[in-house]
């Protein structure tokens, strides 16, 4: 478990990091390192240069910014899990962080690293989609914001440019009557999501769903929005029959991949089961 040799760089500012990224050959950014370092140790990744972002001030922290909660990209999963701001305003984000890996992973792994790495079985992408997070990328020409539906491009591919850093994740706050839940079927070995479903719903006083987001991770090559499920609940009273009918659409639009943990048939089935369970939990919380 020895990585191939590489050059290590530790920039002090985002600008310096971007400079290195623009000039160094075959460079990888290092955040928490809980995906990249194991891949390097297995020599599946052999970057010539490693740019460590951990010494750059200002990339960490969780703060309210009007109707948005801004999370620095280098904020650890544990900080997200334990944040009183997040637990109070959008608990699904903390809840999702709390089921990532194990405590050792959560203490070092970062939300930005995970969302930029875009492992197809990572947990947070489902919640990012359901909740409608936004991604702030910084390049030499300044900052731009990418909506979640434009973020996940494919297997471990995102909209972040080769010359950009993901610096912040913005979580829009939903209104009163909102409830959300992320539930997953964990891989018995890795604890990654074989299938994970995040559901967020807002109910009005009559119990009608005025806003909904459902994201699915694990089953396919990238996390996706379960549009069929969302359409099945939008504008409806969310009784059991409606939820069950909507959840039947969960695997539609997911490029389900068969592997040791499940056939296409089984994983598609799990998408439907966990969509139903996540919706049930979200509705219960919205009503509470």
């Amino acid at each position: 478990m020895y990585p191939a040799s590489f050059e290590y760089h530790s920039p002090a500012t985002v600008k310096e990091a971007l400079g290195l990224l623009g000039t160094l050959e075959d460079a990888k950014l290092l955040a928490g390192g809980h995906s990249l370092i194991p891949m390097m140790k297995l020599r599946l990744a052999q970057p010539k240069n490693l740019i460590d972002l951990r010494k750059i001030p200002g990339l960490k922290g969780i703060k309210e910014d009007g109707s948005v909660i801004a999370i620095g990209a280098m904020t650890t999963h544990w900080e997200v899990e334990s944040s009183s701001v997040l637990k109070g305003k959008c608990p699904i984000v903390s809840e999702t962080a709390s089921v990532i890996g194990d405590p050792a992973v959560r203490n070092v792994g970062t939300i930005g690293g995970s969302l930029a790495h875009a492992d197809p079985a990572a947990d947070m992408p489902a919640t990012a989609i359901a909740h409608g997070m936004e991604f702030v990328c910084e390049g030499n020409k300044g900052r731009r914001t990418v909506k979640v539906d434009d973020w996940f491009k494919g297997l471990m591919q995102t909209a972040v440019g080769d010359d950009e850093l993901l610096v912040e994740i913005r979580v829009p706050l939903w209104g009163a009557g909102t409830g959300g839940a992320y539930l997953k079927f964990p891989h018995p070995a890795s604890r990654f999501a074989v299938v994970g479903v995040a559901a967020v719903v807002t109910l009005d006083k009559q119990g009608t769903c005025t806003k909904a987001g459902v994201g699915i991770t694990g089953a396919g090559t990238k996390a996706v929005r379960a549009k069929g499920v969302e359409a099945g609940i939008a504008g409806k009273k969310l009784d059991q029959a409606t939820i069950e009918a909507a959840a039947q659409k969960a695997a539609e639009g997911v490029d389900v991949q068969a592997d040791l943990q499940g056939s296409v048939e089984y994983k598609s089935h799990l998408c439907r089961v966990f969509a139903r369970r996540a919706l049930e939990a979200a509705v219960k919380r919205a009503q509470a």
Partner: protein
């Protein structure tokens, strides 16, 4: 000080070795630091089966920091790794139907690689990174060949052939029992059940990966090998006498702290042989530590049986006959004890704890393009228990009889000294019904069935599973195992050295890699000598210090190794009596040892403390005529029989109808391991064993890709080990039936949980699914998907 009323034997004292382990002060092989150290990295086959056309090491040799590169062709005069168990008719080994094919297993293969991970070259460098970099630069010209990995495909026509000496990939054929009587029993039986039962391949996954450091000192000609070994003397003997042909007395093997073995560290492996050879070439110490990925493809695997089992029953539930046909996958080569596991440690246990009319067992061992299979915790006995308990469960379902009732009808009645089974072995002592009845009481079986009925009304899939088991441990009487094909004796050594101050050092030939010898044996010695445990030190794992010993596996340390120590303690006491009698001017015949002193029977106050006798032995001024000075005794104990622990386990599971996920809600174990020296340590062993057994039932499994022959569960991210939150709190209890085989009456506890837990859990899942018309699940692990598919198939079938 311990007194006669406060015996240490039977007390749950805390493990004395734990402070150093839990504070990171253990000294493992990888902690050995030597001046001039070099580091080895092995070049391994990426193919399951491939011919080596050529190996180009020039670039690797030129890599900065690389000291040497060797291939198999460089290792002239080096022999095959030996297989220590023979199965040949000419040796009169019982049951041999077709002789064992003794195929070669070279430390570095130079013609054909036969499994993914098979080593073909070694790169030795100044640093570990340089070695790994260098290994990447070795160019092997491979000619990939077709491969066979699946057990039942090995002997198929057209299957890839591994060894010219093993046509059809058959390693051996073996049979035990009475086939004719069994046929007759089946012919007349009113009820028969037949099931295909697959016991999947497992990876041992010791926490510490295998490692070695080999150092040759040219000045003295001495070689020291630090190695993760469960039996350092066996390593030394096999390596010196069979492979390298170097003088045994010039070789010292040290197995320091070792982090788990589960059998996988019993065997002689390629890497320690290559490093021991290489240090003699380069005259510098060589270190190798396996990565976890290397461990997955090179540590001997366990289990991998495909079995057809049949049970014949009377209508009222008497077991009339049992017929078992098993194909056992041995992997690509014969590991050290591989042929013994699916034969004498498997077939002999198929009698279980039941009175059965007739039994017949046939086993075919096969070679495949997979990692070698050998003993893994339980070794053969879990496979036997699994077959028997699963077919008994199926029998109960066929009879529509309560599975607890079927078992109770057939237990061998209580016996105190011997029971001759139909499968060659003679049990030592047993009260199987008592253990099972205790289980039913602790478990509250009646209440569970009521709860289950209520749960089923609500549509919940709740089930209970039972398993009884028998284990042959305290391995083993040397003459007996010799007659069965063992290349070794299986006695154990124990040396007790009393120092002049009365301190005691004990040297055991057994080895602790988690078992707690430093506690249990010290407890035994302090109890026997009635001295504070702080005065006792246990030394193990170093051929330079300990007498020749056979090591630890087969739950033998306490019963065999402990008895050897006890024999030496008896000799110490006898000699001490002579010394004390002389000091007291009494007759040795009138002396007794009590309360830590030698005293004249019936004369209070006329006594010499243990320490004073020890001092006298080394300062023999006032000393019996003709008696040797010193107080040090060595004993070798060869048991007269195996010991046979037994017990009964139960577990409750609930199956999630939606996902097929199995949740283990409750686990109750009643074990009988004879007398217990340290109950806490025994409980710990039972707990760990259950975790491994449940792991096999629900999660673990080495899976090879049928096309490429790659091990697709080759890491901790893919191979699901049990974790604490996947298991319930265990409820453990015991019955105590001492063995007559050894003076302490201890049987062995290291493997019981692993043997019993797997069928217990699978039986529980089958019981949970019974309302859906499901009476059997063929293969493990019972992953959520497998259970879900079973449920779907049952729906489709209706």
């Amino acid at each position: 000080m311990a007194t006669a009323t406060e015996r240490l034997f039977g007390k749950s004292i805390k493990r004395r070795e734990d402070p150093r382990f839990i504070t990171g002060r253990g000294q493992y092989v990888d902690d050995v630091k030597l001046p001039g150290m070099t580091y080895a990295a092995f070049v391994r086959s990426p193919h399951a089966h491939a011919r080596i056309r050529a190996i180009d090491v020039s670039q690797a040799k030129a890599h900065p920091g690389v000291v040497a590169v060797f291939t198999g062709k460089d290792m002239t005069g080096v022999n095959s790794l030996p297989c220590g168990w023979d199965l040949r008719k000419e040796k009169n080994i019982p049951g041999v139907v077709q002789d064992l094919a003794m195929v070669p297993h070279m430390p570095l293969t130079s013609d054909v690689a036969r499994h993914v991970g098979d080593p073909v070259a070694v790169v030795i460098a100044h640093s570990q990174s340089a070695a790994v970099d260098g290994a990447e630069k070795v160019r092997v010209d491979w000619e990939p060949l077709s491969a066979v990995t699946a057990t039942e495909m090995a002997t198929a026509s057209g299957a890839a052939q591994l060894h010219s000496g093993a046509p059809g990939n058959v390693a051996f054929k073996w049979a035990l029992g009475d086939a004719a009587a069994t046929d007759a029993a089946f012919k007349n039986a009113p009820v028969t059940v037949k099931k295909r039962i697959v016991n999947q391949r497992l990876v041992a996954n010791a926490m510490e990966p295998r490692a070695c450091v080999a150092r040759f000192e040219e000045a003295t000609g001495e070689l020291t090998l630090w190695v993760t070994s469960q039996n350092p003397h066996v390593h030394r003997l096999l390596m010196c006498a069979f492979v390298l042909g170097i003088p045994e007395h010039k070789v010292r093997v040290i197995a320091p702290d070792v982090g788990g073995g589960f059998g996988s560290k019993v065997f002689l492996y390629n890497e320690e042989v290559v490093c021991s050879w290489a240090t003699r070439q380069i005259k510098r110490p060589v270190r190798w530590t396996a990565s976890r990925r290397e461990a997955y493809v090179t540590d001997a695997h366990g289990r991998d049986h495909v079995t057809e089992a049949e049970l014949a029953l009377s209508r009222d539930g008497k077991m009339l006959g049992l017929r078992v046909r098993t194909t056992a996958n041995l992997g690509a080569y014969l590991s050290t004890f591989a042929p013994a596991i699916p034969t004498f440690l498997y077939g002999t246990l198929l009698n279980g704890v039941y009175t059965i009319g007739a039994i017949s067992c046939e086993v075919t061992g096969v070679f495949t393009n997979t990692t070698a299979v050998d003993a893994y915790r339980g070794a053969g006995r879990p496979e036997a228990c699994y077959v028997l308990e699963r077919i008994v469960e199926a029998g109960a379902r066929a009879l529509n009889m309560d599975p607890a009732e079927l078992r109770r009808k057939n237990f061998i009645p209580k016996f105190a000294d011997s029971y001759q089974t139909l499968m060659a072995v003679t049990y030592d002592s047993g009260d199987y019904g008592a253990a099972f009845d205790k289980l039913l009481t602790v478990f509250d079986y009646k209440k569970f069935r009521a709860d289950q009925a209520a749960a089923r009304q609500q549509g919940r899939l709740l089930g209970v599973g039972f398993s009884t088991y028998i284990e042959a441990c305290s391995i083993a009487p040397s003459k007996l195992v010799g007659a069965l094909g063992a290349g070794a004796g299986l006695y154990e050594s124990g040396k007790v050295r009393v120092h002049p101050t009365g301190m005691v050092t004990v040297y055991t030939g057994s080895h602790s890699h988690g078992q707690g010898h430093e506690t249990t044996f010290a407890q035994l010695v302090a109890d026997e000598l009635q001295i504070p445990i702080e005065q006792v030190e246990i030394v193990h794992g170093d051929t330079g210090q300990i007498p020749f010993g056979m090591g630890t596996y087969g739950s033998r340390s306490g019963s065999v190794g402990g008895t050897a120590i006890q024999m030496s303690l008896n000799k110490i006491k006898e000699k001490g009596k002579q010394i004390a009698a002389h000091l007291l001017e009494a007759s040795p015949k009138d002396m007794e040892y009590a309360n830590g002193q030698f005293q004249v029977k019936g004369v209070p106050g006329k006594a010499v403390p243990f320490g004073a006798v020890a001092l006298t032995a080394y300062v023999p001024h006032k000393y019996p005529e003709g008696l040797e000075p010193g107080l040090e005794e060595t004993s070798f104990y060869d048991p007269s029989n195996f010991c046979f622990p037994f017990g009964a386990h139960a577990c409750v599971v609930e199956v999630d109808r939606d996902t097929g996920k199995v949740n283990v809600l409750r686990y109750v174990a009643v074990d009988d391991v004879g007398n217990v020296i340290n109950p806490m340590i025994v409980d710990g062993m039972v707990h760990g064993g259950i975790a491994q057994g449940v792991g096999q039932a629900l999660w673990e499994g080495a899976v090879y890709d049928g096309e490429s022959g790659q091990l697709v569960t080759g890491s901790m991210m893919d191979y699901a080990m049990p974790k604490a939150d996947m298991l319930p709190l265990y409820e453990t209890d015991r019955t105590v039936t001492p063995t007559p085989v050894n003076a302490m009456g201890v049987k062995g506890a290291g493997e019981t949980g692993t043997i019993a837990a797997t069928p217990t859990v699978v039986n529980a899942v089958v019981d949970a699914l019974a309302p859906l018309g499901i009476d059997h699940i063929e293969a493990m692990p019972l992953t959520a998907e497998r259970v879900w598919k079973t449920i779907q198939a049952s729906k489709a079938g209706k």
